[in-house]
């Protein structure tokens, strides 16, 4: 096996090892927990909102490389983005893994395309989706009860 392996590509390993988005966020406006009971992966997502823009997102938790790499990518992808854009990225990421959607993200989000390799290993798709499903729950919560400052 080489570094060109479709799943364990450098992009994924770099994101897995990255400490940049790891840890809790002191000024978090929103927190949400997610778990895959079948494999034991657990993570917590922290989001700091500025109005309707995500100022910064981080995660904490324990999981496999796919789970952690995907969470790290998520934090990069949503930081500095408006909630509507975030919803769009989320929809496209899920479509890429679940509905055979094209892995076609704008340049600044092209890391996300590396996750497409996980489709060859259907049991691992839930690892890649854990952080995104957690984000989805968080966004639904905001829709119901918008946090102060978000109109």
């Amino acid at each position: 096996m080489t570094i060109e392996d479709e799943l364990y590509r450098e992009i994924i390993l770099d994101n897995y090892k990255s400490k940049k988005n790891r840890g809790s966020l002191e000024n978090a406006t929103l927190k949400s927990e997610g778990a895959n009971p079948s494999c034991g992966d657990e993570l917590e997502l922290f989001v700091e909102l500025d109005g309707t823009t995500i100022k910064r997102a981080t995660y904490e938790g324990a999981g496999c490389s796919i789970c952690c790499a995907s969470a790290n990518m998520l934090c990069d992808a949503v930081s500095g983005r408006g909630l509507d854009e975030v919803r769009d990225v989320l929809r496209r990421f899920k479509a890429m893994l679940l509905e055979g959607g094209d892995a076609d993200f704008p340049d600044e989000l092209s890391d996300l395309e590396a996750m497409e390799g996980v489709k060859q290993y259907p049991v691992r798709i839930k690892c890649a989706l854990l952080s995104w499903s957690t984000l989805e729950l968080m966004l639904r919560k905001i829709e119901k009860t918008p946090p102060p400052g978000a109109q």
Partner: protein
Amino acid sequence: MERSPSQCTSGAVFGINESMLDIPAVRADFPILEKTMRGKPLVYLDNGATSLKPECVLDAERAYYTDLGANIHRGVYEFSEQATVAYDAVRAQTEAFIHAPDDGHAIFTKSTTESINLVAYGWALKHLKSGDEIVITEIEHHSNFVPWQAVAERTGAVVRFAPVAEDGTLERGGVERTLTGKTRLVAITAMSNVTGYIPPVSEIVAAAHAVGALVLVDGAQYVSHHPVDVAEWGCDFLAFSAHKMCGPTGVGVLYARENVLDSMDPFLFGGDMILKVKKEGTTYAPLPAKFEAGTPNIAGVIGFGAALSYLSNIGLEEIAAHEKELLAYAYERIGSIPGVIVYGPADLANRGGIFSFNIDDVHPHDVGTILDREGIAVRAGFHCAQPLMRVFGVFGTVRASFYVYNTREEVDLLAAGVDAVREIFV
């Protein structure tokens, strides 16, 4: 129809040297071993989850459907009668396989889990009361853990844990120290599904009986690989599954002696388990029918008979010795790779053929996926044994579990897979 289980065996189990297993001949009995997975020859090292099936077991199952087809214990016609005889013959065969005493019965269930639940519902819920104690351990599979928590919740009984050492063994004398005059049941595995550790069952049974407690042995991992003598163990219940011992899925066994079974309530009610049904009430059938309501997995039980014959013809001693050799080789070959941590007692004397490990801090699922790419099937995760994972302080392990058809070459391929993981992650 050739459905006599004794006719169902590998034509060439033994090679020139009769003391050695002829592994290529054994492998030829398992059609699935010709398959490739991810484009590579299948290396099946997940026998702790389920074993592969030899052709003779598949033939026996099929022969029931093609040659008999009838339900058991009902029809007055020839095929139904023959099906009944074939089904009950496997019961006798199962009892002989575990050396059950004359008053010992094998009840067919659907799985080890159901067998344990039958004891939980039929015996424990009936006999246990508030303040009684059930002794279990942290090395149990969830199926011999969760039912006792549920029984405790419903009866007010207390679950107590015999102490477990860092290497996943039971502390010497630990079960004895956990027993009290209030202990009514000890539920213990005969072989850990995570480490392959084999606890001293006979000693535990003797100590439990000394305080008047019954003992349930979870034999799911042990019975498929070792000769079993329940009379020698002296246990009150033994639960195990056909599918881990070359038999079909959907067949489990509960062994117990007559006086114990007589003291139990049925767990499933309905057809086939009754003597008389009247508007005023029902009387139950005698043993073992009392515990086998409804149409059982007839084809599966008949296939299981073929599996028992197959294993007996090879020899359980030989199977255990072969797996121990593979385990020792895995220790030598993989245990020596830098960063590899192996779980379980280092002394292989009380170990079955299970090799559980981690590679540095690489997540077990990543290891499993990379091995999958190489055509190697292992289990990765917490193996339905979360309490033991907590003892080890890990999120999970990678588990290679051997059976009679595995080879040293397959251990070499696993070692190469471990190297591939290190190349990517370490």
